[in-house]
């Protein structure tokens, strides 16, 4: 609830409580009745005669009623005169009727109130007066039934519609007056107009009901408390909100209740201040309860002299939420201060808003040196110059280049050195503006580690290549023996011709040229082998994947031929450029095809075919799918196939697939194996590599 609303409620409360006190303590009804009694008693002393010419008879009648005995005539007259004066002075209309309910007279107030003339009423039947406006069923009940029995009726309420003064609520006191012997009885009707009072009362009751409803709907507890701390009144929408029952609370003192002494002291002090200054006093306090501690907020307002109203609200939940918020803020702060990542937040102009300790460590600047300055000071050219444009372009187009992703960029330390870092940027809104938070990680060390991993991998890959070479040896030996045989034959032929002398220089020359070119071909094979087996640094180059496959096909051709296995190449129509270490990719392909060959030989079927399909797949990646007609992967093998040192071959190392996989993953690709999809027995090995796209990658911090 807002303060304004609280204040309003307080005002309402004050009004209501005053009203309540009026209703509860003001015995106006009784007072009215009392007044009537007084009138009656006064009436009883009315003088026999009246100076007012309109009243003597009435006064006389009354006096006659009141004083049946013989009293001194003068005194009587005096009394009668006084009574007449009183009768005509009281505001309450009085009417005197005879036994047949004919009007015998009325006082000034009567004629004035009902705005009728004495002549119009005299000796007329009451019910016929003024167009039967007095013919009210309840009035008939009073006069015809109740009065004859009881002779005296008090506070009989009647409502009637009167021509001159409209609808009225009347409170009637009626009394049968006995006169002396022989004289008929008279009826005195004292008519009090309570219309206004009743209206006020109804309005008050309606208001009261509304206030009650309002109070009941409010979650707050309310107490009326005297200056000394005594509870005078209590209200709570829910009983359970109170620490004690209303019965226990009412009349007790704050000091005797369930509030701790210190709290009671503060409450009393607040009450004092509220009373002394006339201002609203607000205090918060905690009370231990069996379930823990409950927190309250009390607003203390002066309601009456030496009395206050205290509106008390249970703020335990709010306190708990505040506490949680504080804790979470503290956690966030501690995270910001302890994480290894630098955290830098900027506004939409690039101005640094925060700079955590890790960022200080990474960049070498203290937070003070950076906060308030543009974040581009943390970037080397050319990013430094471009950064403002990045923000502007993002804000105007909403195209996210960096937001939400992590990327590697170059950062600049205070000492001017640059370093590789990984940045993730997230966006948030604060005060109507864009804010960006960059999470910065110094990856110089990681880069170094990655480099080491690459070295290890290259070494492993080399070991594997050497062992692969062993497996390839017999096929390669044949490959090498062909040209060597040709050379030997050609040279021997030359020798034979020279020995016999039966030859020409031309025919010898032709043979020698053949021999030379065959020798070179043998050299090429050796060179290629050496390149494959050589221990070397990884070298990235842009290569056509199809060329690598063709080169591998040549390398494995003898092996395939030896086992009479057909290699079916299905190359893509267009070049598939990849950025890769050619030898390593070749090695992976050799490994895959060699596994295919082994599987085919193990299966021993008639169909011996390795299919190699090169294509660009749906994801825009370069893909090589190698199908074989081998035994296929059994469940047990499929599960363990990527495990190092797992092998199904008698002399296998069990490193081929794990190393192949790590090589491919280092090239940001994937290596997977699955049973052939076309229903034939055998396995499909799929090797996916990202296509190389031209142009330098655009990078920035934001």
């Amino acid at each position: 609830m807002s303060k304004r609303k609280q204040a309003k409620a307080a005002r309402l409360m004050r009004a209501t409580n005053r009203g309540t006190s009026v209703r509860r303590n003001d015995s106006s009804d009784q007072a009215d009745t009392g007044a009537n009694k007084e009138v009656s008693s006064v009436n009883a002393q009315l003088p026999r005669e009246n100076s007012d010419p309109q009243l003597p008879s009435l006064a006389e009648e009354l006096c006659t009623v009141s004083t049946p005995s013989d009293v001194a005539t003068d005194a009587l007259w005096e009394v009668g005169w006084a009574a007449g004066a009183i009768i005509n002075t009281v505001r309450e209309p009085l009417l005197l009727l005879d036994a047949s309910l004919r009007v015998q007279g009325g006082n000034a107030a009567f004629y004035q109130t009902f705005q009728v003339a004495r002549e119009e009423t005299q000796d007329r039947l009451l019910f016929e007066l003024g167009n039967h406006q007095w013919d009210i069923p309840r009035l008939r009940t009073l006069l015809e039934e109740r009065l004859p029995q009881n002779r005296r009726i008090s506070d009989f309420d009647v409502e009637g519609e009167f021509q001159t003064i409209g609808r009225r609520s009347l409170l009637l006191n009626a009394r049968v007056l006995a006169r002396g012997p022989g004289r008929s009885e008279l009826i005195l009707l004292a008519i009090e107009d309570v219309t206004e009072r009743k209206r006020e009362k109804d309005a008050f009751q309606r208001n009261e009901a509304r206030m009650r409803a309002l109070l009941d709907a409010m979650p707050d507890m309310m107490f009326r408390i005297s200056r000394d701390g005594t509870y005078l009144d209590v209200h709570a929408a829910k009983r359970s909100d109170l620490l004690r029952t209303p019965g226990e609370i009412l009349g007790s003192n704050i000091r005797q209740g369930s509030l701790p002494g210190e709290v009671a002291d503060r409450c009393l002090a607040a009450i004092e201040r509220a009373l002394d200054t006339g201002t609203v006093q607000s205090i918060e306090y905690a009370v231990p309860v069996p379930e823990g501690v409950r927190h309250y907020e009390a607003r203390v307002i002066t309601s009456e002299r030496d009395e206050v109203v205290a509106i008390v609200r249970d703020i335990t939940e709010r306190k708990r939420t505040e506490q949680k918020l504080r804790e979470s803020e503290a956690r966030v702060r501690s995270i910001l201060e302890t994480v290894a990542e630098g955290i830098v937040s900027i506004d939409d102009h690039g101005t640094v808003l925060s700079f955590n300790p890790a960022a200080e460590k990474i960049f070498g600047y203290t937070a003070d040196e950076v906060i308030g300055r543009n974040v581009k000071m943390l970037m080397p050219p050319p990013y430094r110059e471009l950064h403002d444009n990045f923000i502007v372009s993002y804000l105007s187009t909403g195209v996210q280049k960096v937001i939400g992703s992590r990327r590697e960029v170059v950062g600049r330390r205070k000492n001017g050195t640059t370093f590789p870092m990984e940045v993730g940027v997230s966006e948030f809104h604060e005060g109507g503006g864009h804010r960006f938070t960059g999470i910065v990680r110094d990856i110089a060390e990681r880069k170094q580690a990655e480099e080491q991993v690459r070295q290890r991998q290259a070494e492993l890959a080399h070991v594997l290549r050497v062992s692969t070479m062993g497996e390839l040896a017999s096929g390669l030996a044949h490959e090498l023996n062909q040209p060597l045989s040709a050379v030997a034959n050609d040279v021997e032929a030359c020798a034979a011709y020279v020995r016999s002398g039966d030859t020409t220089a031309d025919s010898l020359l032709e043979l020698l040229e053949h021999a030379a070119s065959e020798a070179l071909r043998a050299g090429e094979i050796v060179h290629h082998l050496r390149e494959f087996v050589e221990k070397r640094e990884p070298q990235l180059a842009v290569l056509d994947l199809r060329d690598l496959v063709r080169s591998v096909a040549r390398l494995l051709e003898p092996e395939l031929r030896q086992h009479r296995i057909t290699l079916r190449l299905d190359p893509a129509p267009a070049a598939l450029p990849i950025c890769a270490d050619g030898v390593q990719i070749e090695q992976v392909l050799v490994n895959i095809v060699q596994n295919a060959i082994d599987a085919i030989l193990e299966a021993g079927g008639d169909q011996k075919e390795v299919g190699v399909r090169i294509s660009q797949n749906e994801d825009g990646m370069a893909e090589i799918a190698v199908h074989d007609t081998g035994t296929g992967l059994s469940a047990g093998v499929a599960e363990r196939i990527y495990e190092p040192f797992f092998t199904t071959k008698p002399h296998g190392l069990g490193m081929g697939i794990p190393i192949s996989r790590s090589i491919i993953e280092a090239h940001h690709g994937r290596l997977s194996m699955a049973p052939r999809a076309d229903g034939l027995s055998g396995t499909t090995v799929r090797l996916v590599l990202p296509l190389y796209t031209e142009g330098p990658p655009s990078e920035s911090i934001a």
Binding site: S474, G475, H478, A486, V487, D490, A496, H514, A515, P558
Partner: protein, 203 residues
């Protein structure tokens, strides 16, 4: 022998074929080269003498299969198997299939030529034996049953006296048959007869 002995080379490597052709020619040998066993079989006449120089690992049917096919055709051409890689099972199979030699590439040309000359000699000899066998069989066909009976005993080294006793004939009658046999078999003596017949029988 009407036709000149020829070295038939079957190898799927063109350069190897070319160099082998050059080597054979330099040695004065007739040579024909083929890229596959099928190509060779298509035009081969079993009557042509010579030898086969075969790379065991051919496209299509392998060299070993070719040997089987040649045997089925009764083409008794001596075969020299060459291979770029040798292992025990393939060499055993090659030799069982009738190969006279199993050589691993690269083969020293001089050695290869030696082996080819040997193979050609084997072929020549085999063809000679085959020719003799045919002639002897024809002469044997001309003998009477009694003369054939006496021939067997003569080849077994029996004297006329022993034959007469065994066959319950007079020595004189045996001598008469003996003269007829020697005349019909176109030999000059019993020893000559035994040599001819045994040789024809491959003993």
């Amino acid at each position: 022998m009407s036709a000149e002995p020829t070295v038939f080379v079957i190898d799927d490597n063109a350069e190897v074929r070319r160099s082998l052709r050059a080597l054979m020619k330099s040695a004065g040998l007739a040579v024909e080269t083929y890229a596959s066993g099928e190509e060779f079989l298509d035009g081969y006449d079993a009557s042509r003498p010579g030898c086969l120089l075969l790379d065991i690992r051919l496209r299509g049917s392998s060299g070993l299969d070719l040997q089987d096919e040649l045997r089925r055709r009764n083409a008794a051409l001596p075969v020299i198997v060459m291979t770029g890689y040798g292992n025990v099972p393939t060499s055993v199979r090659a030799l069982r299939g009738g190969a006279i030699d199993f050589l691993q590439k690269p083969i020293a040309p001089k050695r290869l030529l030696e082996r080819i000359h040997e193979a050609l000699e084997i072929d020549r000899h085999a063809r000679e034996v085959a020719t003799t066998r045919t002639a002897v069989a024809a002469r044997l066909a001309r003998l009477t049953p009694r003369e054939r009976e006496i021939t067997e005993l003569l080849v077994a080294g029996k004297s006329s006296k022993e034959i007469a006793a065994a066959l319950h004939l007079s020595v004189r009658t045996v001598e008469g048959h003996r003269r007829g046999v020697l005349r019909k078999m176109e030999v000059s003596s019993a020893a000559h007869l035994a040599g001819t017949v045994l040789r024809a029988r491959g003993q």
